[in-house]
């Protein structure tokens, strides 16, 4: 059995961020913002840098078999998690499903995508199943109009709801049922919009795809060769699609709301002693409010920016929203870094007994996290560092994009200012949530 928290997976939460670290972080964020306006490059550079360099032939040749291994692995893990969720022991701590979903998949895969590239393309069990079923034949897209990222945003919202609002998120059965329903929805989407939708239209595929643009490793769209480039430069290649901003609001809003639920004020004054579906209802309202608030900040900022440059507000909102992608990752790292580190030990342990039947397949059932391995100082620095680094990357991306859209540097400056202000708001808000209390 593995100890779990009342609200979810994990035996321990991080300490509040030290106030001095918050202050320096916030100050730094503000400085970065204004330095961007005055001292950065004056011609767009990222798109060019995003072309990168080709990797050696040998690496490209190895990628094929490696992708096969990943496909098998992804399908296997999906099968095990689905089975465990639906028919494994319904005891938190004895079932691998919640741990894989919340730790390895939700947070782990975000980090893997940002560092190593779009590995989800191969790990994606839905895509693998589709490939096998259609034997690679038939059109990748149906003739129906592209729905953009709206379905993806809604699908991710359903996951955020499960994780943060539902009153029993860590119960294996909850995870199992949600995964079953989600898979059915994904199947419907693939039937309606074509197999290609599974790669860039389904919720997690879309998110991991966006995060992977920050990675140094990528596959060139034209030649299909593996290439390498400076991290973060890939943000310049993100296509603006309808619903992209909504997807970002959902993901950023959900991690923000996670921070809100850890505040004393929230658990004591807002939730009180409510349980069950009453609790779920309150949390749902909270999640939707926070997502709306995140959206409001961005839409207000882009409206001001659009007015200053005679542009359409929604075009501007979508054009610059890729610069929020580093902030999405930064929030995830700040909130979940220690969780991923510690609870991965439990994933290793439960791999020996995924369904809670008392097995010990690999001899790892007694592996347990030592919660003293990471000092609280280290964790605090990673949290603050990640948020500030995300802010910096976002500011650089926004700056570059404004230069692409407005060759006149003064106009570019005018277009950036409100956006950078919005990013400072997100960064300082993100840091203050870590203060707890």
């Amino acid at each position: 059995m593995i100890p779990v928290l009342a609200h979810g997976v994990g035996g321990r939460s991080d300490l509040p961020l030290p106030v001095w670290l918050f202050s320096y972080g916030a100050a730094f964020a503000v400085v970065i913002g204004f330095v961007a306006l005055g001292m950065l490059w004056t011609r767009p550079r990222l798109a060019q840098a995003a072309a990168g360099r080709a990797l050696p032939e040998a690496v490209d040749r190895a990628a094929g078999p490696a992708a096969m291994v990943l496909r098998v692995l992804g399908l296997l893990v999906f099968g095990v998690v689905l089975y465990a969720g639906l028919w494994g022991a319904d005891e938190r701590g004895a079932n691998i499903a919640p741990y894989v979903i919340y730790v390895s998949f939700w947070v782990g895969m975000q980090i893997v995508a940002a560092v190593f590239g779009d590995l989800w393309r191969a790990l994606n069990p839905f895509d693998t199943i589709a490939l096998v079923v259609t034997r690679g034949r038939g059109a990748a897209r149906s003739s129906r109009p592209d729905p953009g990222l709206w379905p993806a945003a809604l699908m991710l919202l359903s996951f955020a709801w499960l994780e943060l609002c539902y009153h029993e998120p860590a119960a294996p059965r909850s995870v199992g049922v949600w995964l079953l329903v989600y898979s059915a929805a994904t199947l419907a989407g693939a039937l309606w919009w074509g197999r290609g939708w599974l790669r860039d239209g389904e919720g997690f595929a879309a998110l991991f795809g966006l995060l992977s643009t920050m990675s140094p490793f990528f596959r060139d769209a034209g030649s299909s060769r593996l290439r390498v480039r400076w991290p973060v430069t890939g943000l310049a290649t993100v296509r603006t699609r309808p619903g992209l901003d909504v997807l970002i609001f959902v993901v950023l809003g959900s991690t923000t709301f996670d921070g809100v639920t850890r505040l004393d004020w929230w658990s004591r004054d807002v939730l009180g002693t409510s349980h069950g579906w009453e609790r779920t209802a309150v949390q749902t309202v909270g999640l939707l409010l926070v997502v709306s608030l995140v959206a409001f900040v961005w839409l207000a900022a882009t409206r001001v920016s659009a007015r200053a440059t005679d542009d359409d507000p929604f075009t501007v909102a979508n054009a610059y929203v890729p610069s929020l992608i580093p902030i999405v990752l930064a929030y995830a790292i700040a909130h979940y870094f220690s969780l991923v580190f510690y609870e991965s030990y439990n994933v290793v342990a439960l791999a020996s007994d995924p369904f809670g039947r008392g097995w010990d397949l690999f001899g790892t059932i007694d592996v347990a996290p030592d919660y003293r391995l990471l000092s609280t100082t280290l964790i605090a620095w990673v949290q603050a560092g990640a948020i500030v680094a995300g802010h910096l990357a976002g500011v650089l991306a926004a700056h570059d994009r404004s230069l692409e859209r407005h060759p006149d540097s003064r106009e570019a400056s005018r277009s950036q200012r409100p956006l950078i202000a919005a990013m400072v708001v997100y960064t300082v808000a993100g840091l203050s949530l870590l203060l707890g209390a």
Binding site: P3, V4, L5, A6, G11, R12, S13, D14, L15, P16, P18, V19, W20, L21, F22, S23, Y24, A26, A27, F28, V30, V31, F34, V35, L37, G38, M39, D264, S267, R268, T273, A368, Y371, R372, S375, T376, T377, S413
Partner: protein, 136 residues
Amino acid sequence: MSSRPLIALTLAAALALAGCGDDDPSGTSTTTSSTASTAADESTTTAAATPTVIDVVVVDGEPQGGERHVRLSVGELVSLRVEADVSDEVHVHGYDLSDDVAPGRPAELAFTADIPGQFEVELEGSGVVLVALTVT
């Protein structure tokens, strides 16, 4: 460029803002307690005589007075006692300690708070959180 004075002003404001942060006592105490191991040893020897006592009474499945918030220093001895009018299991997360509780049979757990972080003490069966421990 006209934005240079603005940058200088912002830098000054930012440094002032950062300077304010140093004055906060809770901020400095957090860093000293996590970096000085000798301080933890001292607190163990002084705390050895008097463990921190946490008493919880559970009525109708809920802790009387609501969820308790307790701050502890790393190395502090803790004596947790839970009385309840229901039969359940008291579990200290992170430390992974548990003891059964029943009407007339209080749960008693004594341990050293040697892992820093935030932990919950809950009734395993009902999922009700009794105490939120913050160990710094």
